[in-house]
Amino acid sequence: MADNTPTLVSGEPQRPRAQFVATGFAIAAAAMMIAGALAMYMARRHASGIHPGSEWLNGLKVPNPQFDYALLTLYTSIVTAHWALWASRRRDTAHAWTAIATTIVLGLGFVNMVIYSLNRMELEIGSGEYPNLAFATTGLSLALVVVGLIYLGLMGLRSVGGSVGQHGSTPLGSAVFFWDFVAVAWTATWYAVYVVK
């Protein structure tokens, strides 16, 4: 007798998630680290007087255009990072690697711009409370940016090694996820330290 049992179409193969989840945990940790630093900054700022005014900055002038350009560069790098991921998922390796390289270059450009802006401010570490706090919080955020760049670079290497496609792009996807967070972290730092001041 013929077997009339219908054959079900097999579902989509599962995507590996462990690295993505671990990156999510790492992002939660990094967010809390930035929160701890910024919270301490705000508490010290508040404790220096209800209206810190120029005494808090002690004559320092924040180069807003330079910081704005740096922020825009960072946001642009998010676009290129997602482009890299999109291309990697479609196995378009040429575009994926181009986009990864572009993201890294933009990230380095961002770091360069922030350091230039700090130099322009003539921020002298040890000269006051605001300079010390600004250095510490900015340095922490920049360290996160550098870690994000290294993560992107290493996962880019994995991509070169063949981790592409819908399911193979998890490593690169995790790195891009972290890069998104890095942009959020920098935005919070920039706002607290250089806009609210």
Binding site: P13, Q14, R15, P16, R17, A18, F20, V21, G24, F25, I27, A28, A31, M32, I34, A35, G36, L38, A39, M40, M42, A43, H46, A47, I50, I150, L154, L157, R158, G161, G162, S163
Partner: protein
Amino acid sequence: MLGIASRYFAGRIAVAAAAAIILGIVTGLDETGHVVMFGTIVLGTAAAAFALLTALALSLGDNDSIDRERSHSYPATPAYWPVMSAFGLGLLMVGLTTDGFIAILGLATIITASVEWTVSAWADRLSKDQVANATERDRLIAPFEIPLYGALSIAIPVLLISRVFLAASRNNASWIALGLSSLVLAFAFVLYAKPEIRRAIVATALVAAGAGLIVAGITSAAIGERDFHPHEVHQDEDIEHENDSEATDYEEHSQALNPARIVVR
């Protein structure tokens, strides 16, 4: 249906957000509550972090197991990279408070370990044949590893031994050199005479020697170089002094050969 992890993380969002809002309101009203702002920012961020974990838990669902199977089919192979990273971090910590060069060394160690680690992780996933994976890994990274580690394995002992020699006095340095070379000779002789000696004993001896060298080198570097007394040579009297010294040397040499000879000036 929400699994318990999702529900738990979601509940924590609510609690953290509520606490942040309460503390934020209190901060606005209470002039002495400066410190509470710390709590507001941190708890608010915690609520966001819990939201992220909730989203992760929801996206995973409760039945995912691809990672379990992958981990079992492509197991991670043992490697020195974790220890190397930890060592690099230790160097970085010490270097940040002492010498910038040590910090850079630490950073370089961490980055090297990270690259090696990434390549190992890539190689582990190539196939289920661990031997073939190792071969592929070596093919890719050995051209970098061999010259780098080879150079380091020469440079680091040389650097450490040089610190020991520079810290010791002139005579002691000679004795140390004599002692060290005798030890090496004796060890080589033992290896030759007893080829059946256990590998573990040899490895332990080498590790102990390496550790001793590192400790001695670092201690000597901390102590610093001994005082050197360079000769002062004046230009006008150079030739005269040279002639004098040559004459003196000649005289000394002559006297040594002919002790009875008396030189009268």
